[in-house]
Amino acid sequence: MAETMEMAVNLDYEQKWGFSDPEQYVYKAEKGLSPEVVIALSRMKGEPDWMLDFRLKALSIFRAKPLPTWGADLSTIDFDEIYYYLRATERQGDTWEDVPEYIKNTFDRLGIPDAERKFLAGVSAQYESEVVYHSIREDLTKKGVIFLDTDTAFKEHPEFFKEYFGKVVPPADNKFAALNSAVWSGGSFIYVPPGVKVDIPLQAYFRINAKNMGQFERTLIICDEGSFVHYIEGCTAPVYSSDSLHSAVVEIIVKKDARCRYTTIQNWSNNVYNLVTKRTVAYQDAIMEWVDGNLGSKVTMKYPSVYLMEPGARGDILSVAFAGKGQHQDAGGKVVHAAPHTSSTIVSKSISKDGGRTTYRGLLKVYPGCDDVRSNVRCDALLLDEHSRSDTYPYIEIEEERVNIGHEASVSKVGEEQLFYLMSRGLSENEATTMIINGFIEPFTKELPMEYAVELNRLIALQMEGSVG
């Protein structure tokens, strides 16, 4: 009888995650984006020429590409007002004592060192543009597992970058992938050697502190044959009246018989544009699982995707989006069946309240000749009031006949009879609504480690506070 429900919370975002530190940076690039900013950033990182070239090419692609004409409204982003690179400290700590006091305090408040002690195998903490703290359990290092911030990994293991970097998500993929490619900094690099199973999760935490900040971490995960890893990421930012931009790229390679699970609990403050490209290529009998929770941000556009390249590969995408006042969560998933005997599921749950807007946008593609493909797509939307909105765009492109595809979608409201039933048992309207929502997203929550399930329910309770009655 697991108790994953904790609802009597009386904190608001502002208090718990929305605090900020005074800005005291060792390097702050000038506002706006130019080749000079990119060159300075690359020089400061001591990168080889090929990476600088990669960045500059990406910058011109970013400039040439128009904003997407579909999805959420991005016309309000002022790219000239953003700081593209901020470095808060000279060096990275591998103990928390090595991290500047005020930054350590921030992560203390966010509960990271505590979580690290209790249930994580490794932790990475990024503050603005750079990873300021990094650790991994020693036995994993001995087994050859590499878990580093991406900048350090690039210096120490360039061979992986020559082979994989920018190959799964090329800069030209979309405008924001190009932007990230031009100014990327920080993020996680993971390599799991053949046959090694990382039994407890690795976590990265991303914190934006400064106003008008742009955070562009870059993550590369390689699961070698027969390996397993579960990577979890969380994020928060202070509440400011001006907007910040978070635009990450995540590239994952899952080789034969390997399995990767990538869990996100996105809890940006409501002034952050969150525009992220996440993609995996999965080979023979490999499994990729995206578990993607979006609660915060002003606008999110994110569609984790899996390319199933060889027979037996499987991709599962499970996502939850919660949009409150002024928020638009445009999320979903993408699966490309590029080989026969591959399977996938996409399950999306969305909740809109107080005029918030959720969009499910999904693509399921099956190439010709890929027979014996099985796929199931299910998206459910829950509307908490009449002002809120939910839309569904499930694109399906199937160029093969011998496939088995299922698709279901539903839109519902919190039922009057359910509310009455729960309230007749002593639950307040707010508690009852929260309970119905937690039940609605339970297929998602049950995939999370216990601590995160509790945290997610807490976040939902928080979103619900003050909205009813």
Binding site: M1, E3, T4, M5, M7, G415, E416, E417, Q418, F420, Y421, L422, M423, S424, R425, G426, L427, S428, E429, E431, A432, M435, I436, N438, G439, F440, I441, E442, P443
Partner: protein, 259 residues
Amino acid sequence: MTTEVATKAALMIEDLRVAIEGKEILHGVDLAVRKGEVHALMGPNGSGKSTLASTLMGHPRYEITGGRVLLNGEDLAELSADERAKKGLFLAFQYPVAVPGVTMVNFLRLAVNGVRGQDVPVAQFRKQLLETMKLLSMDESFARRYVNEGFSGGEKKRAEILQMALLKPQVAVLDETDSGLDIDALKIVANGVNRLLGPDLGVLVITHYQRLLNYIQPHFVHVMVDGRIVRSGGSELALELEAEGYDGIAGKNGSGKEQ
């Protein structure tokens, strides 16, 4: 006279008129349930029994257009369902709704804490839960199932009585708690209710069969037809009903009502 009863009765229903979507369903119902008493409310389908039950519990769609309901002397009109529950009222639903994804244990825990107005320690709650489930012949695994989802008719009714046992109300309304039960399940449910009876609990058992009353013995029986209570009497009235049917009773009432 009315005031005197009001001070004694835990549940006092006075000339209650109720409408749904503008249509009056209850046309003036009077009923008083004291603690320690079991009342049966019988009547054909559609006579308004569930309407009365939902109104007592505070369903927002049921509009009180006349009369009042008092719980321990307090007018319930302005109270929401959760406030009524906290004041000791309980309704076992005729059709309990499913709440997908919410486990019984999480739901019951919050309900118990809500009604008692304090957090019951987890260990103590679990102990109570497991013991009560055992009395109702419910397997432990039941606690991990989702509220009413995929429950058989019998499981739903048992789950309602489980909730009643944990919430310890002062007045309980049981709406068709016998419907859809085979004889073994009926015995278990009736047994569960009988265990809870005592000087601190008043019960209103709603049923349209006499069958349940063989197992839960009422002190009083009321017959509702078309939104009115047309006869009230002792437990023998249930037998009379069994013999003559509602038509017979309602017919007799035609003259009796004018008295």
